[in-house]
Amino acid sequence: MNKLTIFGICIVGFFLIIAVFAPMIAPYNPGQIDIDNILTPPSGQHIFGTDSLGRDLFSRMVYGTRISLMVGFIAVGIAALIGVALGAIAGYYGGWLDAFIMRFIDIMLCFPTFFLILAVIALLEPSIINIMVIIGATSWMGIARLMRAEILSLKERDFIYAEKAIGAGSSRIIIKHLIPNAMAPVLVSITLGVAGAILVESSLSFLGIGVQPPTPSWGNILSEGKAVMGAGWWMMIFPGLAIFITVLGYNLLGEGIREKLLK
C-alpha cells in the first residue's frame, strides 16, 4: 500500500484515539478558568499555552477533537443516508422519479453550499445537532450521483435478473444486493466527506455560528486566536495545524481507497 495512504491511516487513527480517550489524555479540565495564567505561551505546565481565560489550550484541543470528529462522522453519515437512498431510488426506478431527483440535485448544486449552510444555521440556532444535520443535508448530492451511476450499471447484471426470477421484491433487491455492491466509490466520497465536514464545522465555529463557547472546537479556538492576534501565536497555530492534519489524513485515506478500487 502506498506510503501516503499509510500516513493517512496513522493520522486518522491517531485522532480517533485522542477523541476516544480524551478524558485520560487531557491534563486539565478544558473549562477550568485560571485568571492568573491568561495567555501564557507554551510551557512545561501548559504544553500548548493558555487562552484568554487561562484555560489550558492542549486540553481544550483534545476535547475539541471529539467535537470535530463527531460532527464529521455524523454529518457525513446523514449525507450518506440521504445520498445513497435517493441515488439508489433514482437509479433503480428511473423514469420521472429519476428525472425529478436529478433535477433536485442540479438545483441544490447551484447554490454555493456554504451560503446555504450559513443561512440555515443562522436562522435556526447554532447547536451541534443543527450543524450536523445541515452539513449532511447539503452534501449528499455527490454521493447520490455516484450511487445512481453505479446502480444504473449494476441493475442490468445477471445476478439481479436471477433475483427477480426468484421473486425478490424491489426493496429487497435494492437494499440487499444493489447497494452493497455499489458502495465502493461511495466509500471514497464518504471518507473525503469527513474531511470536508470538519472544514465546514471549523469554518462555522470560527465565524461564531458553529459550536458555541465554552464548548471547545478547533474553529472557535481559532476565532479567539484572531482576537488576540499578535499576542498569542499558539492560539492560532495549534488549532489550525490540528484541522489541517486531520483533513489531510482523511484526504490521503480517501485517495488511497480510491487507488485501491481503481485496480
Binding site: I107, F111, A119, L123
Partner: protein, 326 residues
C-alpha cells in the same frame, strides 16, 4: 446555435424555479414570522418599515401565495428592501458583485495559469520526484483551511511585517491618489484575498489536469504521433495537451459555486466589501430580503458559470455539435 440556447433556456427556467423555491423555503425554516426576530433585535426598524415588510411578504396570507408574490417581484428583479438600512436589496448586491467577481476572476486566472502547468508537468514526469513533490503540495493545498491560511497571512505579512494591507480594498488616502496609484493601491489590497482564494482551488485543477493528461498520453493517437517522428514537445504540448484540456474547461465552470462560497471567509477576515461579506452580515442581522437576494444571485451566477463551461467545451471540441445536445 439559437435552437440550443432556446432549449437551454427552458431547462434553466426550471432550475431557476427550483432555486427560488429552495431559497424561499430556507427563509421560512426559522420558527415564527420572518419579521419577529429581526424586530426584536433591531431597534432601528420603525413601525412603517415593519408594516412595509409585512406587506411585502403578505405574512398573513398562506405560504404559497406569499411565494407567488415574491416570485412575481423577483421576476422584475425587485428583491425588496433591506431590513438593515432600508436600501433596495438589488442595489446593495450590485455594489458588491464587482469586487467579489474581480477576486474570483483573478483567482481563476491564477488557478489556470499555475495549476495547468503543474498538472501537465506532473503527468509528463509521472513517478518522478517532482511528481511526488507536487502531489504532496496538492494534498496540502486541499487540506489547509482557508480561514487559517488567511489568519496566518494576515498575522505575518500584514501585522508583523506590514508588507501588505489587510483590511478593505482602499487605503485611507485613496481619493487623493492619481489613477495609477489608485490601481496599485487596489491591487495591493487584493493580493492576499486572491492568494487565499487561489490556493484552495489550485489543488483541484492541477490534480484533475494531471489525470486528464495521463489518460490522454495512453491513447493510440499519441503512439501514432510518436511513430510519425514528431518532436516530443509537439507530441506533448500540441497533440496531448489540447485533448487533455477539454474536460478541465468544464471543471472550471463547476468551480464557481465553490469560489463564491469561499468568499464568505476571506472577505470577512480581510474586511473586503464583497458579496460574501454582505451575505455574512445579512445572515447575522437576519436581513431576510438580502439573504434571499444573495442566495438567488449566487445561484444564478453558478448557472451562468455552468452555461459558459458547456458552451466553451462545445466550442473547443470539434466532436460536439451544440444542436445535438440538450
Amino acid at each position: 446555435m439559437g435552437k440550443y440556447i432556446f432549449k437551454r433556456a427552458i431547462g434553466l427556467t426550471v432550475l431557476l424555479l427550483g432555486i427560488t423555491i429552495i431559497t424561499f423555503s430556507v427563509i421560512h425554516i426559522a420558527p415564527g414570522k420572518p419579521t419577529d426576530l429581526q424586530a426584536q433585535f433591531n431597534p432601528k426598524v420603525s413601525m412603517e418599515a415593519r408594516e412595509r415588510i409585512a406587506h411585502l411578504y403578505g405574512l398573513d396570507k398562506p405560504l404559497y401565495v406569499q411565494y407567488i408574490e415574491w416570485l412575481k417581484r423577483f421576476a422584475r428583479l425587485d428583491f425588496g428592501i433591506s431590513f438593515m438600512d432600508s436600501r433596495p436589496v438589488m442595489q446593495k448586491i450590485l455594489e458588491r458583485i464587482p469586487i467579489t467577481l474581480t477576486i474570483e476572476l483573478f483567482s481563476m486566472a491564477f488557478i489556470l495559469l499555475i495549476g495547468i502547468p503543474i498538472g501537465v508537468t506532473s503527468a509528463v514526469k509521472e513517478g518522478s520526484f517532482y511528481d511526488k513533490a507536487m502531489t504532496i503540495f496538492v494534498f496540502v493545498g486541499f487540506a489547509v483551511p482557508t480561514f487559517w491560511l488567511s489568519l496566518i497571512l494576515m498575522d505575518f505579512i500584514g501585522v508583523r511585517w506590514g508588507i501588505l494591507p489587510i483590511s478593505g480594498i482602499k487605503s485611507l488616502e485613496f481619493e487623493k491618489f492619481g489613477f495609477l496609484e489608485k490601481i496599485i493601491d487596489l491591487s495591493r489590497h487584493l493580493i492576499l484575498p486572491v492568494l487565499v482564494s487561489t490556493f484552495g482551488g489550485l489543488a483541484g485543477i492541477s490534480r484533475y489536469m494531471r489525470s486528464s493528461m495521463l489518460s490522454v498520453l495512453k491513447q493510440d493517437y499519441i503512439r501514432t504521433a510518436r511513430a510519425k517522428g514528431l518532436a516530443e514537445k509537439d507530441i506533448l504540448y500540441k497533440h496531448a495537451l489540447k485533448n487533455a484540456l477539454l474536460p478541465v474547461v468544464t471543471i472550471l465552470g463547476l468551480s464557481v459555486p465553490g469560489l463564491i462560497g469561499g468568499s464568505v471567509i476571506f472577505e470577512s477576515i480581510f474586511s473586503i466589501p464583497g458579496m460574501g461579506r454582505l451575505f455574512y452580515e445579512s445572515v447575522m442581522a437576519r436581513d431576510y430580503p438580502v439573504i434571499m437576494g444573495v442566495l438567488v444571485i449566487g445561484a444564478i451566477l453558478t448557472l451562468l458559470g455552468n452555461l459558459l463551461a458547456d458552451i466553451s467545451y462545445a466550442a473547443v471540441d470539434p466532436r460536439i455539435k451544440l444542436d445535438d445536445r440538450i
